[in-house]
């Protein structure tokens, strides 16, 4: 009778899935997100789900959660009030950053203001060198002076970033202990604990973000845990990390707060990964298009592409994150003719308010959504999100005024033009995501989700030469699956230095140290260390190179075999190798994981309903003329369905427009569209 629960908070909806481990029977709940106080909707959805499933709170074995609290705190700059301790001489670490500017030609564009103002950065006398030897000892008085100064400033959390602490953490830890004695209420983040990697600015930026996010996350998780306790739920609360994998709520509150930055999108990618795996797809481009943005992710050789260095709102963050690129192209992107006479779409967006003209909320400028409406791809009179009714006349009027008349075109031709332009931008984004990583997009399938993704996906596949498009049952399901099946995961890094040859002993020491830290974290996270598997990678480069590449590290293999593997990976990635050059070891990275309690996929609900799936017809503009096209209710499409477009497939949260392509429904209720020419 054990049940697992996954709950994901999105910008608009909170989605929850409760599944019976034994049978896979699942209950799905979707409720509007309570912006600013997410716990209210989360608890409400939890109660509803337990009532529908008729289970007691004690039947829950794990409560997995994806939250946007951290993301919102960054976007709205509503993190904690924090201070920073640095090595003397490096007070301006955050202000200087990498010294580059964000826009080549816009003199008003600025890097974001650091999260710690200059007067809350304190210099500490201490110095460690690049190999970890102490050059000058930690001056406890300078720490005490900083403690005294910041105690009057209402500081909630402190980041400590000393030079070369990745090579020797002693000074950071000693300063943290002293600070904790003097100011016991502070949450303290040491950079070597957050990220033991070389590069002081990247490490500082990540550590400062960790400190910044700890207070709001802590407040939110306390409220949520109190609420769950009131409901009688004692199951462990685990939080989704940006790179997949979960951690206990207690770890998310301080030690690894920065790992929740992209908790929400990560759950969706994990779900996409499981759906792809179930369908036997190993190479997939995921596209997620909403009102304001277009996200592209990649699954390659059955693994989600992950990066260990990325940026959010201009802040470098060196924690594992799924490799997702975001373009400012969404349903709300505005189309306009510029002074030169070219048709542009975006980057300006109508957002949620006033939104597209077709929504009737006062928007008068034509958007991508309006183009879809004008061509019949979004059915007039259709209700979206309960409150909006699609109004074709308004969409057509906006397009006529701002695009069709200035260009001397019909409304339909102008609408097709808007779609062609926004699709061109998205094609460029998908090509950039694949080609820059040395991959050919034609070798992938596309999985489309988000409110607007499926509407554009068929055209994108055709233009990129991608033969297969998959539309999963619903985005809510995707996140829930991702949460339910997420393993526990923890990453540790050790820096290496010097040539790979002859480094066996050093690598052995580093491996043992990182492994010990992973097992220590597992015990602290209440994970059985016997159930933890550890995967090691070593980052290597040719002497003199500025970039490194990771290859799997097998402690049993001779170093020569590892060097050989590096030559191969280098050739694959860069088209050449240099077997004559010495190979340098840069870092060792260990990932510990422990599987989710039970890897049962929930059975989809709300699909496979009985009744006539063809619920009507609607006029669509196809190949230069209007045609009446069948409207299909996705919930009623049976497994094994096979047919051919044109058709409009509607479901609660999205619409799919299929032209003259074959369509089928697989065993997991995924729609599969053949997009080969």
């Amino acid at each position: 009778m054990a049940h697992l629960l996954g709950c994901d908070v999105g910008g608009t909806f909170t989605d929850l899935c409760l599944v019976d481990e034994a049978s896979g029977q699942a209950v799905f709940v979707k409720t509007p997100t309570t912006v600013g106080r997410q716990a209210i909707a989360v608890l409400e959805a939890t109660r509803t789900a337990m009532r529908q499933a008729e289970i007691a709170p004690t039947a829950l074995r794990r409560y997995a959660h994806g939250t946007t609290v951290a993301t919102n705190a960054i976007l709205e700059r509503k993190g904690g009030r924090i201070a920073l301790l640095v090595t003397r001489g490096f007070r301006d670490l955050l202000l200087i950053g990498r010294q580059t500017r964000p826009s080549l030609y816009d003199p008003k564009a600025r890097r974001p203001q650091p999260l710690v103002p200059r007067d809350l950065v304190f210099e500490i006398d201490e110095r460690v060198d690049a190999i970890g030897s102490v050059v000058s000892p930690l001056d406890r008085d300078s720490v005490a002076r900083a403690a005294k100064a910041l105690s009057t400033q209402g500081i909630e959390a402190v980041a400590i970033v000393f030079l070369h602490s990745y090579a020797n953490r002693a000074h950071e830890h000693a300063a943290a202990r002293l600070l904790a004695e003097l100011c016991p209420e502070l949450v303290i983040s040491c950079s070597a604990d957050v990220l033991a990697e070389i590069g002081e600015y990247g490490r500082a930026s990540t550590t400062v973000m960790n400190a910044y996010l700890a207070p709001p996350l802590s407040r939110y998780l306390t409220a949520l845990e109190d609420g769950l306790a009131e409901e009688g739920i004692a199951a462990p609360l685990v939080i989704m990390q940006s790179g997949g994998g979960v951690m206990p709520s207690a770890t998310a509150r301080g030690l690894k707060s920065v790992h929740t930055c992209l908790s929400g999108p990560a759950a969706g990618m994990m779900g996409a990964f499981h759906i792809a795996a179930q369908g036997g797809l190993r190479d997939v481009v995921t596209i997620d298009m909403g009102g304001t943005s277009f996200d592209v992710g990649l699954i390659k050789d059955g693994e989600i592409l992950t990066r260990h260095a990325s940026e959010l709102e201009g802040f470098p963050l060196q924690v594992p994150m799924f490799d997702i690129i975001t373009l400012g192209a969404g349903g709300g992107s505005i189309a306009a003719v510029d002074a030169g006479g070219l048709l542009h779409v975006g980057p300006e967006s109508a957002g949620a308010r006033p939104g597209p003209a077709a929504y009737g909320h006062g928007g008068t400028r034509p958007t991508v959504t309006d183009a879809n409406v004008a061509l019949g791809r979004l059915r007039p009179g259709r209700r979206i999100a309960g409150e909006i009714t699609i109004d074709r006349a308004r969409a057509a009027e906006a397009i006529r005024t701002h695009v069709a008349e200035p260009l001397g075109l019909s409304v339909e031709a102008a609408a097709e033009g808007i779609l062609a332009v926004v699709n061109a931008a998205m094609i460029r984004g998908i090509r950039c995501m694949t080609v820059e990583r040395g991959l050919d997009p034609a070798g992938f399938a596309v999985m489309a989700f988000g409110g607007a993704g499926p509407l554009h996906a068929v055209d994108l596949c055709a233009a990129l030469g991608i033969p297969t498009l998959l539309v999963p049952p619903s985005p809510g399901l995707l996140c829930a699956i991702g949460l339910l099946l997420a393993p526990w995961r923890h990453v540790e890094t050790e820096m290496l230095h010097g040539d790979l040859a002859g480094a066996a002993a050093r690598i052995g020491t580093a491996l043992a140290a990182a492994r010990e830290r992973i097992m220590h974290r597992a015990s602290a996270d209440v994970i059985d260390p016997d159930g933890v598997s550890v995967h090691a990678e070593i980052e290597l480069r040719y002497r003199g190179q500025g970039h490194q590449l990771a290859v799997p590290y097998d402690p049993g293999a001779p170093l020569a075999a590892i060097a050989a593997a590096f030559h191969v990976v280098h050739r694959e990635n860069f088209g050449y190798d240099r077997q004559d050059q010495p190979v340098e070891a840069v870092a060792l990275r260990l990932t510990g994981s422990a599987a989710a309690p039970n890897a049962t996929l929930p059975l989809p609900a709300g699909l496979g309903e009985t009744g006539e799936m063809r619920v009507g017809t609607s006029p669509c503009w196809i190949d230069g003329g209007w045609q009446d096209v069948p409207v299909i209710d996705r919930a009623r499409m049976p497994r094994g369905f096979e047919g051919r477009g044109p058709m409009l497939v509607e479901q609660t949260d999205t619409t799919l427009f299929v032209g003259n392509q074959p369509v089928r429904v697989d065993d997991a209720f995924n729609l599969i569209i053949g997009t080969a020419p």
Binding site: D92, D338, A339, L342, G408, E416, A424, Q545
Partner: protein
């Protein structure tokens, strides 16, 4: 003007031209991705010191992905210049290699590879990429020496030379280039990466033109260039009849004697065209600070984009409404055999300042104060006592940005013609024989004003090995000026401390220093905007609390 009106039957082409613009930009970007992925040197892979471009069959620039603005003006007209120099054209399957500053526009380390794109029904265009190579010979490693008096001392100079014939690289040409370089393997590796990048571009351009069809492709390209020109003209029409001039100086030494050089520009707008006349600028000098005519064009295009429209496309349409008038054999338009190695790092920044000063008078609403005004290069080389291996460290340092009306200048940032990242201190200490004693904002360098100038940076290094140290700095004796009664930013200073004694170095110098010497480089700040008395009280209070008050010295 009838030619400024949008043609009435432009509808479908206005859409396809924009779709094609994305496609062409993707070609240039994919060439860049191929170059990064296959290049050897850190210059290309990390610092992104390269640019990629796409041309039509007539040789017009139709798309460009430049990573640093100093490359902006070099590609326009490139094909025509190569044709003129060779008296012919590239055969199908051919590529030219060229680094002649009067043809490909930049200093000698910037090597350009140009490839012809042909499909079944003939030539559809060209692709090209320019990349900064580690060494092409000359007086000193890196080919950016100070003590030169003519271009022949700066390294190998190649006119457009057929490097690839029928798709195959000519090994004889490679051997010539390799023989001229101190680091032949790396140069050849990077050249092969450039060949690979062009091949990527050719394939993608062929696909794009093939899908569009010849006539539609050509029509849309024509429309795209005309649309860009119309967009520039549309902005210029708002400035019709205005004129302004400005001058500033570049620091130079004639032997030991300071001999600063004037740069002057007069801007005027008439009939929807902008004229930039540099007459009155100093004659060229027998040193590497001369600009090529094309680098000066880059500066003009940079200013046009910054002031008129940062989002405008980088294609031939951007040039069409501009008239650049350059005095012959001058500092801003050197003629052979003058040396030009510092044209990108020093001359370009001051030419840019002069243009900005003039644009400020043309468009007072968008005025900006002077930024630090130099790329602030520091080059240290020698033998690392810790490893016994030779080392070579090159970095260009940030400075302060000038304030604009309504906005303080940014602190510690690369401005104008460059934009490359710094070296992390932890990596410097690991990889080079120095201790970094401090790296922070240079307090007191932000120009006073209602909106203050940005701060320069100060970095202090203790050498652990004997080393040769070269600096390329400017603004050591002239001010980064403020605007609208705003104060000037602080100047740049380089000092060396040995046995407790400290001395200043010239901005542009080469020194042999010893282990234990402490080198401090302090870069210039940005000028302020508006009367300092009108600064917002809270902003002033924040500055004081943060120790970031106005320029003090």
């Amino acid at each position: 003007m009838s030619d400024s009106a949008v043609p009435p039957v432009s509808g479908a082409i206005a859409i396809f031209a924009e779709v094609l613009r994305h496609g062409l930009q993707a070609v240039a970007e994919e060439m860049g991705a191929a170059l990064i992925r296959t290049a050897y040197s850190i210059n290309i892979r990390d610092r992104r010191d390269f640019s990629c471009a796409v041309f039509d069959a007539a040789g017009r620039l139709i798309a460009q992905a430049e990573h640093i603005p100093v490359h902006l003006g070099l590609m326009g007209g490139l094909i025509a210049r190569c044709r003129a120099a060779t008296g012919g054209d590239l055969p199908p399957g051919g590529m030219w290699v060229v680094n002649d500053p009067w043809i490909s526009g930049s200093h000698l380390p910037d090597i350009v590879l140009i490839a012809a794109a042909d499909i079944e029904d003939g030539r559809i265009g060209y692709v090209a990429n320019m990349a900064h190579h580690v060494d092409v010979g000359g007086l000193a490693p890196g080919s950016l020496a100070l003590g030169v008096t003519e271009i022949t001392q700066e390294g190998l100079r190649l006119p457009p030379t057929v490097l690839v014939r029928n798709g195959d690289v000519d090994p004889n040409i490679l051997r010539i280039i390799a023989a001229a370089s101190r680091l032949p393997e790396m140069v050849i590796g990077d050249l092969m990466a450039q060949v690979a990048a062009n091949k990527t571009g050719l394939r993608r351009l062929g696909e794009l033109a093939g899908r569009a069809g010849r006539a539609r492709f050509d029509n849309a390209v024509g429309f795209l260039l005309a649309a860009t020109a119309r967009r520039v003209e549309d902005r210029l029409r708002m400035l019709e009849g205005r004129a302004a001039a400005f001058e500033d100086t570049l620091e130079w030494q004639d032997g030991e004697r300071p001999d600063d050089l004037v740069i002057r520009v007069a801007l005027s707008v008439a009939d929807g065209r902008l004229r930039a006349d540099f007459n009155g600028s100093a004659p060229q000098v027998a040193g590497p600070v001369n600009a090529t005519p094309l680098v000066t064009a880059s500066c003009l295009l940079y200013a046009v984009k910054s002031y008129l429209d940062p989002h405008i496309g980088s294609n031939d349409g951007l040039f069409e409404r501009l008239d650049l008038v350059l005095p012959e054999a001058s500092l801003v338009a050197a003629a052979p055999p003058m040396p030009v190695a510092l044209c990108t790092s020093i001359a370009s920044q001051r030419i840019c300042d002069v243009l900005i000063g003039a644009f400020n008078r043309l468009m007072p609403d968008q005025a900006m104060a002077a930024s630090s005004g130099s790329m602030n290069a520091l080059i240290i080389g020698g033998d690392d006592v810790r490893t016994g291996r030779r080392f070579s460290y090159v970095e260009t340092y940030a400075g302060g940005q000038g304030a604009t009306s309504g906005l303080d200048g940014a602190d510690a940032v690369h401005t104008h013609m460059t934009n490359t990242a710094n070296s992390p201190v932890e990596m410097m200490e690991r990889d080079y024989p120095f201790d970094v004693l401090g790296y922070g904002l240079a307090e007191g360098t932000g120009g006073a004003g209602q909106y203050r100038g940005g701060h320069g940076v100060v970095r202090t290094l203790r050498l652990l090995s004997d080393a040769t140290v070269t600096t390329h700095l400017d603004r050591t004796r002239t001010d980064p000026w403020g605007i609208q009664a705003g104060g000037a930013g602080g100047r740049s200073v380089v000092t060396v401390e040995r046995n407790g004694e400290r001395r200043s170095l010239a901005g542009k110098s080469t020194q042999h220093l010893r282990a234990g010497d402490i080198l401090e480089i302090r870069t210039a700040g940005g000028g302020g905007c508006g009367d300092a008395a009108r600064r917002d009280a809270r902003a002033a209070e924040r500055d004081t609390a943060c120790g970031l008050g106005f320029r003090t010295a």
